[in-house]
């Protein structure tokens, strides 16, 4: 994983573009722009984890208030990740969007989130020290 070079960046940006393409296509083909919320959800999803990891003191293991803040961030991230899948299903269940639009936006959202996560995983090493 430390050898994350140019090919990784190109592959990740390609996957990100495919994800955005699927989500925007699922909106534009049926003229119903609700699935764009999925993009917003997955962009916001890593933020609670990131904010809470900066709030907590990682040396503070005995007094577990630092770990509680970390847990809160993880909880919110888990909430948002499932929200990105659940939102198109809710919309499709009440006919706000069609079933193919739901499938496309779920797949596109997962691709976008996977890109964000793997980008953070590949390039975490340099930020650590």
């Amino acid at each position: 994983m430390p050898t994350a070079g140019l090919k990784t960046i190109i592959a990740l940006s390609f996957v990100l573009a495919v994800g955005f393409l699927l989500v925007i296509l699922s909106c534009a083909l049926w003229h119903s722009y609700y699935p764009l919320l999925v993009v917003a959800t997955y962009v916001v999803a890593p933020l609670p984890n990131w904010i809470c990891s900066h709030c907590a003191n990682p040396d503070d293991f005995v007094e577990s208030s630092g770990a509680a803040v970390l847990d809160l961030g993880r909880f919110c991230t888990g909430f948002l990740v499932v929200m990105g899948i659940a939102l198109p299903i809710v919309l499709a269940h009440s006919n706000a969007i069609t079933i193919p639009a739901m499938v496309m936006s779920v797949i596109g959202g997962l691709l976008i989130y996977g890109t964000i996560i793997s980008f953070a995983m590949f390039f975490q090493e340099e930020q650590e020290f």
């Binding site: 847990d71 888990g78 909430f79 499932v82 659940a86 299903i89 809710v90 919309l91 006919n95």
Partner: protein, 171 residues
């Protein structure tokens, strides 16, 4: 550690890792989100054109979920370390007692939410004999309260794993 163990069966070793604890917390957040969106689905479906019946989701249907979430918030805000401390060990002013009272209130709210979900389901949907596509709303109200309870259990267990982990670390 092995002398003052209460239960016969140990927790398996793989559960004591930081990985299992993080997965538990993420899973609890995901389950809570699932519960919220199941309830939101019933509300959205109720106002959509698909709902042919006159039954609609009102504030009453949201109440079980609200109470369950309140109970979850209370239960998981209590510091677990204060709970196991006896009153003479290091929490002299009866912190353990207070923690138990607050925890009792939390569990009461959680169980009240569960019971309220079943009550709404029976009184609003079963007793008037609502037919099936509208009955889904009642089922979703009940199921969402149950999933919040499950999420609370998972979050509680994961935080206990965290205590074991920090214990091992402090040794």
């Amino acid at each position: 550690m092995s002398e003052d163990r209460l239960w016969k069966f140990r927790r398996p070793e793989w559960l004591n890792s930081i990985w299992a604890r993080n997965a538990g917390v993420y899973g609890a957040g995901g389950l809570f989100s699932l519960a919220f969106y199941i309830l939101l689905d019933s509300a959205v479906w109720s106002k959509s054109a698909l709902n042919g019946s006159t039954i609609h989701v009102t504030f009453v249907d949201w109440l079980p979920f609200i109470f369950s979430s309140l109970g979850m918030l209370i239960i998981n805000s209590v510091e677990k370390a204060r709970l196991s401390a006896d009153s003479f060990s290091y929490s002299g002013s009866g912190v353990a007692w207070k923690a138990r009272v607050v925890l009792f209130l939390g569990f009461a709210a959680l169980a009240g939410g569960l019971a309220g979900g079943v009550t709404v389901f029976v009184l609003k949907f079963i007793v008037p004999g609502v037919p099936f596509p509208a009955l889904t709303m009642g089922v979703e109200v009940m199921v969402s309260a149950m999933i919040v309870g499950l999420s609370t259990v998972i979050l509680w267990v994961s935080q206990n794993i965290e205590d074991e982990y920090s214990y091992n670390l402090s040794l």
